[in-house]
Symmetry: C2
Subunit: 346 residues, 2 copies
């Protein structure tokens, strides 16, 4: 860090914990009528019209879940919150409140914490959720973030992983593998920056904006889910794509006691994934799609009789169908080969 940068940085101790949380809270205004009590009391309170309270917590730790040498602070809080909200949305629930706890070591300044909350604030506006708790505490080393998302759902619309039925269509809310490829771009640029690669490999993010954004600033398919609810299309099962398509389809099949057939040439993969993979023979767009992770899209199943509607009105990617458990979970290649879907730790 240069001297100039240090000069414009305020130690947390100068402001004090109370003033710091007040300052952070001032960024946010309550947007949901259902938020009865936001920041400023012991706990958050929501008045839900729907009787189901749906919640998920995400913990993000520096050095494991993110690397601050190439991920700007404003994306850290944003992405952690996206993870928590995405899990709530995967139950077909609508996130309403976020609780944010953050642990910072002495190398973080007030301006750093501001940057983290700038990202969370953008997310709150984008998805109409309220920050209902903020706590900043000391950390011995590094940055830790815990975000909980609380939402509400109608009982009849709840989607679990366990509801998939034989012959159901397997759908994706968007393309997969892009975030993983974006991460690899950032990792390559870090190696160039730290001199680990040959000296003529210049940093180059040009042409990879889409996959970088998918890694740094993922979006959740909230509009699609809202449209499905409006059209009374309730997925029979649903799962957030966090650890790759392979992990998600295996989770869904296991919970539902079913098998699946996925068609390789139906899996949507963005053009930039192929372009970037073309620069490095160790990269495979299909492997990125299956095992890359960080997609934050939804994997879900719909009854076969919805096929026409899904095609005509939604232009959704249907990548395969659910079958009997004895058939296992298979990937069908364009030339008709059957490969068994695998994911580490499943």
């Amino acid at each position: 860090m240069s001297k100039k940068e240090t000069e414009t940085r305020t130690p947390v101790s100068k402001l004090g914990k109370y003033n710091l949380t007040e300052r952070l809270a001032a960024r946010f205004t309550v947007v949901n009528d259902s938020t009865l009590q936001g920041y400023g009391d012991d706990a958050a309170v929501a008045f839900f019209m729907d009787p189901l309270s749906v919640s998920a917590q995400q913990l993000a730790l520096e050095g494991v879940d993110f690397d601050l040498s190439y991920v700007p602070l404003k994306f850290i809080g944003y992405k952690t919150a996206i993870g928590a909200m995405g899990q709530v949305m995967a139950m077909n629930a609508v996130p309403v409140q976020l609780l944010v706890n953050i642990g910072v070591s002495q190398r973080f300044f007030v301006e750093d914490i501001d940057a983290i909350f700038e990202g969370i604030s953008a997310l709150c506006r984008r998805y109409s959720v309220d920050i209902a708790a903020i706590d900043v505490q000391s950390s011995y080393t590094g940055l830790s973030l815990a975000v909980t998302a609380i939402g509400q759902a109608e009982p009849g619309l709840l989607t679990r992983r366990s509801g998939a039925q034989e012959n159901d269509l397997i759908c994706l809310s968007g393309n997969v593998g892009a975030a993983y490829m974006g991460l690899r771009v950032l990792e390559r640029e870090k190696r160039v920056f730290t001199g680990e690669t040959e000296k003529d490999a210049l940093p180059n993010l040009n042409g990879y904006e889409y996959i970088l954004e998918r890694y740094l600033k993922p979006e959740l398919p909230s509009a699609l889910l809202e449209n499905l609810r409006r059209d009374d299309l309730v997925p029979t099962s649903m799962c957030l794509l966090k650890n790759g398509l392979a992990h998600s389809i295996l989770s869904l099949c296991k919970a539902s006691g079913k098998g699946a057939r996925l068609f390789v040439n139906k899996i949507p993969i963005a053009r930039q994934c192929f372009e970037f993979a073309g620069t490095d023979p160790s990269l495979s767009p299909l492997v990125a799609a299956l095992n890359g992770g960080d997609d934050y899209e939804m994997l879900f199943t719909l009854p076969l009789n919805q096929y026409e509607k899904v095609q005509k009105e939604y232009n959704l990617d249907t990548i395969g169908h659910i079958c009997d458990v004895s058939s296992g979970c298979k990937l069908i290649t364009p030339d008709g080969q059957e490969l068994t879907v695998e994911s580490p730790g499943m």
Copy 2:
């Protein structure tokens, strides 16, 4: 760690993340009918009869919030969960579900994580709450825990910090300062153990069991709160005692726009606090009560006309009363002196 200890320890990598969380989840059975979806899906789902969803998140980081050299692992998860649940109870809500995320570095083994969840499991039985999510992830250094408590409340019973009225009685659910004194006992024993104190000072926890337990394994006043609800006694305001009595009364007065008078000789302090303070002239039971923290009791206010009932049926400690904001927040000594209540960072 001795060789023998190492031999009975299983690396997390040997079991794998999936098997580990399944193993941890197997400790718990769902006890609340309202828990529609516990561990095993994207998010936790609760069906609440009362329309208010009340939630609080607690983050605990090794080296700052706890010191594993003198706090056994089984108390770490327990206490973090107590913190989250206590905040929910401070709104006069009933905690129903817990979400637990834990980050562990390579120096932690499966048996360590088991110990953490053993403590959480004891708490779940004690307070009839369900573990509705478990996630274990890698940490670069040390142990990190995030626990969210989700509860429900009736709108008419909700208690905020901001509702205190002039002349209200200020009540405590139990004595204060004991946890801080317990911590000091542990810190002294650690110094003896590491040879920092004179060599004739032998480790001695005898006679301090009560204050040690208040630090290691605090209890929440759930029965008292339930009895108050049953008797239609709704506190006008309430606040969890986490950072000391001074911090809590100042928070409550600030939120309510009021002042307070607290009487020193009415503040309940356990006998062992005085006994331990007698061994070390740097310790003051009153300072421990005011600024010690970790009490996990409730500070709350009730209308003056409930005084007789509170005295006769509840044997509650009433330590003062709310007054006009211009009077400030004062501590009255037995000889009639008025001291201004202060707390760091307020």
